[in-house]
Amino acid sequence: MREIEYREAIREAVIEEMDSDEKVFLIGEDIGVYGGAFRAYKGLIDKYGPERVINTPISEAAIIGAGIGAALTGYRPIAEIMFIDFTTLTMDQIVNQAAKIRYMTGDSLNVPLVIRTQGGAGRGVAAQHSQSLEAWFYHVPGLKVVMPATSYDVKGLLKTAIRDDNPVMFIEHKMIYLNKGPVPEEEYTIPFGKADIKREGEDVTIFAYSNMVFKSLEAAGELQKDGISCEIIDPRTLVPLDIEAIISSVKKTGRLVVVSEACRRGSVASDISAMVTEEAFDFLDAPIKIVAGLNTPIPYNSTLEQASIPHAADIVKAVKEIVKK
């Protein structure tokens, strides 16, 4: 199968959906000639014109509001917030408006809005441009949260997100836009709420999403050398969550390591751990281990930056603490 970059997969998804549904449009900062901060929209302004590729002033709350208003009146906007760190300027619109409108209005209105953004550390862009904030959105009823790791997943899930009738937080990771991965030529979509087993194994379940899938794969490779067989579950969508897939893997392996780049305190990782503890306590042969970011603003210095987020070695260590072979 051909291999394409993650950002190219995004672009393909957008093009396919814009071609098949004239109600789909793009709105955000520097998405015109600039093609978006990570160039995922390269050339789209030429293809669709400024009516469907709306390049806005630096007005994040109004970008989301524009998305909501258009969604309420028949369109399917994809609103882009350049860094997840800037969603801080839009939380009222995302949380009090987009997420709640359908419910609050007794299903009178609904908001088919995709909010594309990206997070994560690794580029030396420091504390205000490197956060992993998915836990916030995960905590808000009414939002779906999608965090695809591979080119295949990002394409299929973005198409599903665009077709969804309710708001979707679509969170990418700044370190993987240039990763290449297999993507079929034919059209496909990926349903929400269906985890993907990124590697099958017997001894321990590793739950990981977004860029941490790759760190986990690396760790699993290492651990294999010591005869430890890891099963890697990538939920792909945090809301809805394929909890069955996690539980059934844990029932098989009896052990769970939960990995997340976000700061450990109050992370999604904790939530997964709590859920598994409550639902599969009797199948656990060891305490659940969490491998997550340190509770720190991300430092600029590269060594410190790297030290504040998980690496394969941290996952290896955690696995070895609960798997004795």
Binding site: F25, I27, E51, I54, T56, P57, S59, E60, A61, A62, I64, G65, A66, G67, I68, G69, A70, A71, L72, T73, G74, Y75, P77, D92, Q93, N96, Q97, I101, Y103, M104, T105, G106, D107, S108, L109, P141, G142
Partner: protein, 322 residues
């Protein structure tokens, strides 16, 4: 307003009275604890809702606020469904989930009240994009208060609407107060309407208690918007008769000023007088309208009271789908 039919004028008067009586009733129901939570009556501001909504068509959108009953009624909302919602009933506009601050109606192109001050302003931008893309001359009215005009979303939204020449009419109901904060102290320039110049759009500062003036100004702004000339900002000056909500005595308000507005600037009374002076209606007509409206409102209360509460089991099922 010379080119308005007698019938239309009478319709407007009826709407004014309908809002007035509806709000009076909700305050009463609040005081007897049939309605709870937050209730923000629009008493004294009726002419803005009616003047504005009469100047647009049923296909045009409105975006409302926490003080939104008047906007709903002026846009044609069903009183039964409104009242049922205020009583938290399953038959209400929001199935009892939203209450006063979240009423919406797709068919009426009523994009929702809002519990967040200014929260609807960015949404109007999107509705504006949508009208523009549809290309069939629809417009959006976005209501908000003087208090909201100091929030950041006001700025972002008006700027963006103007940059893209969106067909949105921004109507600031300057009722002099945001809870206890007087707009003379919170708005750093003289008039909210002056802020239009920051966005390269026309600004109008009008007497919001004068239905005719509201109607004509909105009509003009809507015409401009439909022609592709972009948004306008209208500051409709009015007065919040009551406290911020029924439990607020409004002790911070100037008593003389309050009296002045109630006595001299009552939008319902003044429009009534005007139509009488024009010979369009008589005292008897008014009595008739009042009776009809009283019945509608009593019926709505009856409907609401007799309506079932939302079912708990259903709620628990629905929650799983969120």
């Amino acid at each position: 307003m010379t080119n308005i039919s007698k019938e239309a004028k009478i319709e407007m008067l009826k709407k004014l009275i309908e809002i007035r009586r509806f709000e009076e009733k909700t305050v009463q129901l609040y005081q007897t604890a049939k309605i709870w939570g937050y209730l923000h009556p629009s008493l004294g501001q009726e002419a803005i809702a009616v003047g504005a909504c009469s100047a647009i068509t049923g296909d045009d959108y409105i975006v409302s606020t926490h003080r939104g009953h008047g906007h709903c009624i002026a846009k044609g909302a069903n009183l039964n469904l409104m009242m049922a919602e205020l009583l938290g009933k399953a038959t209400g506009y929001c199935k009892g989930r939203g209450g006063s601050m979240h009423i919406a109606d797709t068919e009426l192109k009523m994009l929702g009240a809002n519990g967040i001050v200014g929260g609807g302003i960015p949404i109007s931008v999107g509705a504006g994009f949508s009208c523009k893309m549809d290309g069939n001359g629809k417009v959006v009215i976005c209501f908000f208060g003087d208090g909201a005009s100091n929030n950041g979303v006001f700025h972002e939204s008006l700027n963006m609407a103007s940059v893209f020449k969106l067909p949105v009419i921004y109507i600031c109901e300057n009722n002099l107060y945001a809870i206890s904060m007087c707009s003379r102290e919170s708005v750093a320039c003289k008039n909210v309407g002056d802020r239009a110049s920051s966005y390269g759009m026309p600004g109008y500062i009008i007497d919001g208690n004068d239905l005719t003036e509201v109607y004509e100004t909105v009509k003009k702004a809507a015409d401009d918007a439909r022609k592709g000339n972009g948004p306008s900002l209208i500051e409709a000056q009015t007065y919040r008769w009551g406290g911020h909500h029924p439990n607020d005595p409004g002790a911070y308000k100037d008593k003389e000023e309050a009296d002045y507005y109630k006595k001299e600037k009552d939008p319902v009374v003044n429009f009534k007088k005007k139509l009488m002076a024009e010979g369009i209606i008589t005292d008897r007509d008014i009595d008739k309208f009042e009776d009809e409206i009283k019945k509608m409102i009593d019926d709505s209360v009856k409907f609401a009271e007799e309506s079932p509460e939302p079912e708990l089991d259903k709620f628990l099922e629905e929650v799983k789908q969120i």
